[in-house]
């Protein structure tokens, strides 16, 4: 696996995959896509980078341990439920805030926040598994 072609292409591929995963995540609200599938694509990006450049390089590039990302995801998902407390509606009710920037409509919502949470859980958990398997013995 450790060829020059792969090692040269992998960082670009990984970057593209992570960008694409964010696209899939945001697209998911109204069209096929979403946090889970986006998260899997993102984790594949991490895995490819790890295979090509070594697990240590992948961990350095991530800055934080991937399992912390999973924790962040659970945290975000739970938080999105709590946001409906001040609005006096039941737990996990979808709340929307719409902005108009230069004529374009931008909708932010708690379902999106929940989905971002799912994305991080999947990236974190699958990324941890992938890096552990690639790394071998001690982690």
């Amino acid at each position: 696996m450790n060829t020059v072609i792969f090692r040269t292409a992998a960082p670009i591929l990984a970057a593209l995959m992570i960008m694409f995963s964010i696209f899939v995540l945001l697209r998911g609200h109204n069209e096929p896509g979403g946090g889970f599938i986006g998260g899997l694509i993102g984790a594949s990006g991490i895995a490819i980078y790890g295979i090509a450049c070594g697990v240590d390089a992948a961990r350095r590039a991530l800055k934080v341990h991937p399992i912390s990302l999973a924790g962040l995801g659970v945290f975000l998902a739970a938080l999105s439920g709590f946001l409906s407390l001040p609005a006096a509606v039941p737990f996990l009710t979808g709340l929307w805030a719409t902005f108009y920037v230069e004529g374009a409509e931008i909708s932010l919502s708690t379902p999106m926040m929940f989905d971002i949470g799912v994305y991080f859980v999947v990236v974190g958990a699958v990324g941890t598994i992938a890096l552990t398997l690639e790394g071998g013995e001690d982690d």
């Binding site: 341990h65 399992i67 912390s68 999973a70 924790g71 962040l72 995801g73 659970v74 945290f75 975000l76 998902a77 739970a78 938080l79 439920g81 709590f82 407390l85 006096a88 509606v89 039941p90 737990f91 996990l92 009710t93 979808g94």
Partner: protein, 530 residues
């Protein structure tokens, strides 16, 4: 034919969303679950902050206890409390309901978890910290509380899975060979049970067309008998495996003695009770006709479990395996309550579960201290601990009496209710077995006490030969291990002396399970009548 111009109003559809505001106080139904989930996420992020981890976990579990107490008081005052997620009207939204049964179970579980959070500080090593003992504990508590408070049968399955994943993680945290061995047995049977549970849910959905527990309770009376019996039978089997009832009990003693003592205590206190709780919820509240038809089966399961549990404990030389068999005996008592299916039976069962959650957690913790002092799991080499730590022997004997149901301890009251229920129903098999179970439990548990505290030294050694392999508890172990255990035992003793409110609560719980009008109307409170 509908055209694009048709407005939805013209179709005159019934409303699908809840109108009107939800008072923040109603949120109390989800607090115990949401807080635990929130805390688990937070603690995973703080994975490298070791000192912070236990403090945070303790504070979060404390907050969960406070919400559970408030929840229990609300339920005492106003009856069952419900909230349907995401503003959807039931039965479409996922409903969380707290009735007396759920609130009592949830409170006892959180109290047991709090004691374990403190106790865990004495025995965890770096590896167990690093792989996330505290986040997993909170995730487990989240799954357990969710199971007790959800009002949706599919959601119950989801919480079972959450619990299973967390317990799997906790079981193999130490990474020792024996733990993997135990986890495989535990995991295989529990996966099987959850899969059957899922299949039974699918059947039930096919029969009644709904997943909301209150809605099923309304509709199950008209369901055809054959499919209903199939679904009920599958539920009983699935929950029986989860609860470690005979004949599916073998996984419990094979797995529960392998992890850290704190984990054993958590499992012994909480996990099997969730299976028993689900059996009560599904077979009494939702499918009473199924329970009536299955009564002979439940009777056989209850009798065999009640007898074989303590008999198994009697044959063990491994302390925590023996306690595992006592857990199984207690499950038999819970199924005895289910067999009776009367107010005394169900009420007694619910109170027994509260007692069992607290007492078995304490029992495992005391057992853990004994193991630390003797450095072995084998009761044949534990003799003489009385000379090293006399207070521990008192804790142990109190728990033995509480387990067996001797007065004046907590175990007595639910047994009295159950026996009274059996006498009223004229069900002498249950009455005899309940009494026999108490006797056998007493023999098995006091045998443990005699071997550990009464005997001077190793098995086979001369009686004047002291056991020189024992060591005293360090001050850390006294402060963080012994002190919380004493607190828990004190709570059990106090509850045993003042059981009135508990017995009253058990009665309310039984009525709400047997005649679920209040439960149903709480769930469908916001739904306009069509």
């Amino acid at each position: 034919m509908a055209t694009a111009a048709t407005s939805y109003d013209a179709l005159n559809l019934p409303p699908a969303m809840i109108e009107g505001a939800t008072a923040p106080a109603d949120w109390i139904v989800v607090w115990p679950v949401a807080l635990a989930l929130f805390g688990a996420g937070l603690l995973v992020m703080l994975r490298n902050q070791r000192p912070l981890q236990s403090v945070f976990a303790g504070l979060i579990v404390l907050a969960i206890i406070v919400s559970n107490v408030y929840l229990l008081l609300r339920v005492f005052e106003a009856g069952p409390l419900a909230m349907t997620m995401g503003k959807w009207l039931p039965p479409f939204g996922i409903t969380f309901v707290a009735d007396m049964t759920g609130a009592l179970f949830a409170l006892s579980a959180s109290v047991a978890a709090f004691i374990v959070v403190i106790f865990a500080k004495v025995e965890l090593d770096g590896r167990e910290y690093r792989f996330g003992f505290y986040p997993l504990l909170l995730l487990l508590l989240c799954g357990v509380s969710g199971s007790f408070l959800t009002g949706d049968i599919f959601n119950l399955y989801v919480w079972f899975e959450v619990m299973l994943i967390a317990s799997f993680g906790l079981l193999i945290l130490g990474g020792r060979r024996i733990q993997i061995d135990g986890a495989v047995k535990y995991g295989f049977l529990n996966f099987l049970a959850t899969a059957l549970f899922l299949i039974a849910i699918a059947y039930l959905y096919g029969i009644t067309g709904t997943l909301n527990m209150a809605d099923i309770a309304r509709k199950s009376a008209e369901a055809p008998v054959g499919p209903l019996l199939t679904a009920s039978g599958l539920f009983l089997f699935a929950f029986g495996v989860k609860a470690a009832a005979f004949p599916a009990n073998a996984w419990l003693p094979a797995a529960y003695h392998t992890p850290a003592v704190a984990v054993s205590a958590l499992f012994g206190g909480l996990l099997t009770k969730v299976g028993a709780y689900a059996a009560y919820r599904v077979l009494v509240l939702m499918l009473p006709a199924g329970r009536d038809m299955l009564e002979p089966v439940i009777l056989a399961v209850a009798v065999a479990t009640m007898i074989l549990g303590p008999l198994g404990a009697l044959a063990q030389t491994n302390l925590r395996r023996a306690i595992g068999f006592l857990v199984i005996g207690g499950i038999g008592v819970l199924f005895a309550g289910l067999t009776l299916g009367t107010q005394h039976g169900i009420g007694g069962g619910v109170i027994y579960a509260v007692h069992s959650i607290l007492t078995l957690t304490a029992f495992y913790l005391v057992g853990g201290l004994v193991e630390r002092m003797s450095g072995t799991q084998d009761i044949r080499y534990m003799g003489g601990i009385y000379t090293v730590n006399a207070p521990l022997s008192i804790l142990f004997i109190i728990l033995v009496f509480a387990m067996a149901g001797l007065p004046p301890f907590l175990g007595l009251w639910p047994k009295i209710l159950l026996v009274e229920g059996g006498v009223r129903a004229g069900d002498w098999v249950i009455v005899t077995t309940l009494l026999l179970n108490s006797l056998l439990t007493l023999i098995a548990a006091s045998r443990l006490w005699a071997h550990i505290f009464w005997r001077n030294g190793h098995e086979g050694a001369r009686s004047e030969q002291p056991n020189d392999t024992l060591r005293r508890l360090t001050s850390d172990e006294v402060g963080l291990g012994l002190a919380p255990t004493i607190a828990l035992v004190a709570l059990i003793v106090v509850l045993g002396f003042f059981p009135n409110w508990l017995i009253e609560a058990g009665g309310v719980a039984a009525i709400d399970l047997l005649e679920p009008e209040r439960y149903i109307s709480a769930v469908f409170a916001g739904v306009p009548q069509s």
